[in-house]
């Protein structure tokens, strides 16, 4: 479980996160939604420590994360997998070497065990046989899956995904969504996904937090979201013409 309490963050005097408190449950796909520039990515990066929050608390189970120094954070970070918006695969390494990288660094496994683990992770994301390919040879969806394979290589307790669907076609996007949900349930991971994709919200949104202009405006699940009386949320959810028409006709 991850608990965020009263987080504030500003850049050059501009408040980007304004008193956000939220709890992310294990074994559940937790979504942070909001329009572009609402503060989703800053919130996610503040939770994992890539940005330092100005004030507030971030708890991983019973550990207050944001007061730890770099070396103390390492122990928690080894339990975190992260999927970045642009996949962030290492360009100079093959798919196999990318997935093996965290194992080389921290696992203590021997070469055969590492190879087996890499193959297992690649098979889990349906990328078996792509071991020797380089990131530049992969499609957008394959890059995301390779990045997921790398993120789960060390059996993380926490998985963070920053806009996992950006730049993908709707079918591939749903595949990635389902993969994240399956992995979350399979390994009882606390998963936090940043998205503004409404398909993702309806497919995998077990717990949803809506933020707008750095403030938490609404919290609920994918069933409750359609009947919310939060105007900002309704404007976001029913932004396109079809959704508006369906809502107005009561479908």
């Amino acid at each position: 479980m991850i608990r965020v309490k009263n987080i504030y963050k500003s850049f050059d005097g501009r408040n980007v996160l304004d008193d956000i408190s939220v709890t992310f449950e294990p074994g559940m796909t937790n979504l942070i939604i909001g329009s572009s520039g609402s503060g989703k990515t800053v919130l996610l990066k503040s939770i994992v420590g890539l940005h330092e929050a100005d004030s507030g608390e971030i708890w991983y189970e019973d550990t207050l994360f944001n007061t730890l120094n770099f070396h103390e954070r390492k122990e928690i970070r080894k339990q975190i997998g992260m999927l970045f918006q642009g996949s962030a695969l290492f360009d100079s390494l093959s798919v196999e070497d990318n997935v093996r990288f965290p194992l080389d660094m921290f696992s203590g496994l021997n070469t055969r065990e590492k190879k087996e683990r890499v193959n297992f992770c690649l098979e889990r994301v349906n990328l078996a046989g792509t071991n020797k390919l380089f990131p530049s040879e992969l499609s957008g969806g394959m890059k995301k899956r390779a990045a997921i394979a790398r993120a789960i290589a060390l059996n993380p307790r926490y998985l963070f995904c920053d806009e996992p669907n950006s730049g993908l076609d709707p079918i591939t996007a749903i595949l990635i969504d389902n993969l994240i949900k399956e992995i979350t349930e399979e390994y009882n991971i606390t998963t936090v996904v940043n998205t503004h994709d409404m398909n993702s919200v309806m497919e995998i949104g077990e717990k949803i937090v809506f933020i707008s202009e750095g403030q938490k405006c609404w919290e609920g699940n994918s069933k409750e979201i359609l009947n919310s009386d939060c105007k900002l949320l309704n404007d976001f959810v029913f932004a396109n013409a079809l959704a508006k028409q369906l809502k107005n006709t009561g479908v």
Binding site: L50, F70, R73, E75, I80, F84, D91, F101, M105
Partner: protein, 247 residues
């Protein structure tokens, strides 16, 4: 001035992170071997080409400017040798490597920064500064003196080929000249300068890449800045070291 102090402080904070205990020695070792190839071995070609031509030009220039019966012709070999050992193979090659290796380092690390690859390393619990920069520093500090030695040998050979080929000096006079009044300390002086220059090239370029913000345009600008700053620092360090070591 404030900006300069800010950058200067950031540079040394980064160096503090770079020279911290590696997470996994075998991974760092493999990374260092990769850097030996990409920063060292792949630079031999350009060093050889430039050294041959510079050696040739130095010889021809010396010959045409000392074309007088009172100067013995072996001075052409001596002039070529000392110019190459004292300045060309350390300083000029360092300036060229600041362009080739420095821009390579800045663009590589800068691209990793803007594509969140550095964030990915940090998220895994890896000290990204140390992992990315320390192997490059190790590789250049150990390999660049070797490049300087190659440059000295090839540069003098280029001078011999040009001098003898153009008929401005006989082979025996040139060879006598390069042996005449040889001071082995000059080689040490050249090597020490090379080590300092290698540190400047690598760390200044890495610093500019590591802290780049924005996109590909900013990476390009950072590469240019890295080359300019490291070239100025090389020239400044050259003056200081020359005064300290040869005075």
């Amino acid at each position: 001035m404030l900006k300069f102090l800010h950058e200067f402080g950031n540079y040394w904070i980064l160096m503090g992170k770079v020279f911290s205990k590696p997470e996994n020695y075998s991974v760092y070792y493999r990374q260092t071997l990769r850097e030996f190839i990409s920063l060292g071995l792949y630079s031999i070609g350009i060093v050889v080409i430039i050294s041959v031509f510079m050696g040739a030009v130095i010889t021809l220039q010396t010959a045409y400017n000392t074309d007088n019966p009172i100067y013995p012709s072996y001075l052409i070999g001596l002039g070529c040798r000392d110019s190459i050992i004292l300045e060309f193979s350390s300083t000029v090659i360092a300036l060229i490597l600041a362009g080739k290796v420095g821009s390579n380092i800045t663009s590589e690390i800068g691209t990793m920064r803007v594509t969140e690859q550095i964030d990915a390393l940090e998220m895994m619990g890896v000290n990204s500064a140390s992992f990315l920069i320390l192997p490059k520093i190790t590789a250049t500090l150990l390999f660049n003196p070797f490049l300087t030695l190659i440059s000295i040998v090839v540069g003098i050979a280029g001078g011999w080929i040009a001098g003898v080929g153009a008929g401005v000096v006989t082979s025996s006079d040139f060879i006598y000249g390069i042996q005449y009044a040889f001071i082995p300390y000059y080689i040490l002086y050249s090597m020490i300068k090379t080590v300092f220059f290698a540190f400047i090239i690598t760390t200044v370029a890495a610093y500019h890449g590591y802290f780049v913000e924005g996109g590909s345009l900013e990476v390009g600008r950072a590469s240019t800045k890295a080359v300019v700053y490291s070239s100025i620092l090389i020239l400044l360090t050259n003056v200081i070291l020359t005064q300290l070591m040869l005075s």
